[in-house]
């Protein structure tokens, strides 16, 4: 344990890189730059939004499951051109990442989040609360998501979900 912390202490720049990636992720969604969102993932990635009540029972059932970067792009194109939904914006508030390990070039972390949703009536509501379970890797020196698993506590989704968490 001490050894792991010492190792992380040496590589404190890793911590900053993780925070930068998390912040960038929130910003592309909250500022409606969804087209930039898939590029935060490697090609062979997993993005999943899953109710905590399924995760805790070891059930696969998920709200969104993307098993490639192409599927992330398809979600964005559907968001722009296919799906019908009420105009809204998100605001992510993301906690500090808990770093589990950095072995073999793969960093795994857990991070709490809150997403507020504001419709065009101006009322902001707590839309989703939960945690990210991430696996991060470097691609040409840049940290990217190999996996981002969103496990949400707010198990009644208000109306619908079209924008990623």
């Amino acid at each position: 344990m001490e050894l792991a912390e010492a190792k992380l202490g040496i590589e404190s720049s890793v911590f900053l890189d993780i925070c930068k990636l998390q912040t960038k992720y929130s910003q592309v969604i909250d500022t409606d730059k969804l087209e930039d969102w898939p590029d935060l993932f490697v090609d062979d990635c997993l993005y999943k939004i899953q109710p905590r009540e399924n995760f805790d029972r070891d059930l696969e059932g998920s709200v969104i499951v993307c098993t490639s970067k192409g599927m992330l792009v398809d979600r964005v194109v559907a968001h722009r051109h296919a799906n019908i939904f009420a105009e809204h914006v998100y605001r992510h508030v993301v906690g500090m990442p808990l770093i589990h390990n950095t072995d073999d070039g793969m960093i795994s972390t857990s991070t709490s989040y809150v997403v507020f949703r504001t419709l065009n009536d101006g009322e902001s509501v707590t839309y989703s609360v939960g945690r990210y379970e991430d696996k991060l890797v470097r691609e040409n020196g840049t940290l990217k998501f190999k996996e981002r698993q969103v496990i949400f506590d707010t198990n009644q989704i208000a109306t619908q979900m079209v924008t990623p968490i």
């Binding site: 939004i49 899953q50 109710p51 009540e53 399924n54 029972r57 059930l59 696969e60 059932g61 998920s62 709200v63 969104i64 499951v65 993307c66 098993t67 490639s68 192409g70 599927m71 792009v73 398809d74 194109v77 559907a78 051109h81 296919a82 799906n83 019908i84 939904f85 009420a86 198990n155 009644q156 989704i157 208000a158 109306t159 619908q160 979900m161 079209v162």
Partner: protein, 422 residues
């Protein structure tokens, strides 16, 4: 305030024939608290069977789940003999909820307030200080444990679907479901299933707007572009709706690949929902394998009053409606596959699950559609919606260009709401 506040007056003033042979539904039926309260009495506690869960959710002795019939909390549980019981989730003592978890396994139900304990059939089996302490207190001599059970509902299962009823007079479950709905359930529940998980959606509109939505083949290719563009569902396909003789339940069905895309391009012309420019980078989301011997790829089986059984390609689910008042309901999607699914089939169902649920590429719009109507009808409760597609009559249809199934729902609704509960 609203001109209409009384359910019986509203039912009496409901015209039997709409303009130009169409059908009308008064907006007050969606918005009024009085109507909502009467529905709890005459529908959810009336002579109907409400869906409460799947047997696969409570396989073992002591397994339970808590859910609702309308807005009444109930517990569904399996006893030591393997029988399923449904009780109102309310202690016979002072009315506290006896079950506080969504699901779990327990040898008995115990109220935390005063530790009254009930077995898995709902019988009272013990309570503290019944005979007092050192001669003080205790229950009256006449106290009979048998008179203080949890309120037990009638329970019947059909092919692994559990239904419960408050009514002593309702017909047996197979008779209530009718031959057509039973055949449709037989087809989907032809072998043991496995639960894949739940998704819950809170929709801010009246529950009957969703009853309409799931009996509406007219909207499916116009609202849901994903359906239409990728040919999963088009109104030009082979399909139709089948209703029982009382019009209670509705089956919408269709077969993909039974219309010509070139012809469809003309039919839908420049409609938003038909977009041949939209292609997928990863089409594996649409890959599948037939689950059944027929060519039917969409089944929306809406069972009155509170559940929809669905097959859309390889996605299988039940959607349970839980009411929270005239302006709000919850939709609980429970997805399942078959117990004998191999890894390839698990992956197919997982990828296709992107199509359904509150974030489903072809179903997310329904929540929004319900709310658009609800927001539009917030006043003018004495005015009416209009339905004429397919001729404005209730009944079955051998095509998808119709609203006859929705009209069927309303005909049964009027009938059941016009009856005073026994």
């Amino acid at each position: 305030m609203n001109a209409i506040v009384n359910t019986d007056n509203l039912l009496k003033s409901w015209p039997t024939q709409g303009k130009g042979d169409g059908y009308n539904v008064p907006y007050g039926i969606f918005t009024e608290t009085d109507v909502y309260n009467e529905e709890q009495k005459r529908i959810f506690r009336g002579p109907n069977w409400s869906f409460v869960g799947l047997e696969a959710e409570i396989l073992k002795s002591g397994d339970f789940k808590s859910t609702f019939i309308g807005d009444t909390p109930v517990v569904v549980m399996r006893d030591e003999d393997g029988d399923v019981h449904v009780v109102v989730n309310r202690c016979a003592h002072r009315g506290a909820k006896v079950c506080r978890s969504l699901r779990g396994n327990t040898p008995n139900l115990e109220c935390v307030y005063h530790s009254w304990a009930y077995n898995l059939k709902g019988d009272l089996i013990g309570l503290p200080f019944r005979r007092g302490i050192k001669g003080n207190g205790g229950m009256p001599k006449s106290f009979d444990m048998k008179e203080h059970s949890l309120q037990k509902l009638r329970v019947e299962t059909y092919k692994g679907l559990i239904f419960a009823s408050f009514s002593d007079t309702v017909e047996s479950l197979p008779d209530f479901l009718g031959e057509t709905a039973c055949e449709s359930i037989d087809r989907i529940f032809n072998r043991p299933i496995k639960i894949l998980g739940d998704q819950r959606q809170r929709i801010f509109g009246n529950w009957k707007l969703y009853a309409e939505n799931t009996r509406d083949p007219y909207h499916a290719s116009l609202l849901h572009m994903f359906h239409n563009t990728f040919g999963l569902y088009r109104a030009s396909q082979k399909g139709g709706c089948k209703l029982d003789d009382k019009f209670r339940h509705s089956i919408l069905w269709s077969s993909k690949g039974t219309s010509s895309t070139a012809e469809d391009a003309k039919i839908y012309k420049d409609n938003r929902a038909f977009n041949s420019d939209f292609t997928l980078q990863d089409p594996s989301i649409l890959a599948g394998k037939p689950d059944f011997d027929d060519d039917i790829t969409v089944v929306i089986l809406a069972l009155f009053p509170n559940v929809i059984v669905q097959q859309i390609s390889n996605t299988l689910a039940v959607r349970q409606i839980v009411t929270y008042g005239p302006k709000e309901f919850e939709l609980v999607w429970t997805s399942f596959g078959y117990a004998d699914d191999d890894h390839e089939m698990d992956v197919i169902r997982l990828k296709q699950s992107n199509l359904i649920g509150p974030a489903g590429l072809i179903s997310m719009e329904d929540g929004e559609a319900v709310e658009l109507v609800h927001d539009g009808i917030i006043r003018d409760q004495d005015q009416f919606s209009y339905m004429g597609m397919g001729g404005g009559e209730p009944g079955s249809s051998d095509h998808l260009v119709t609203e006859s199934s929705i009209i069927g729902f309303w005909e049964y609704y009027r009938d059941i709401m016009g009856q005073q509960p026994a």
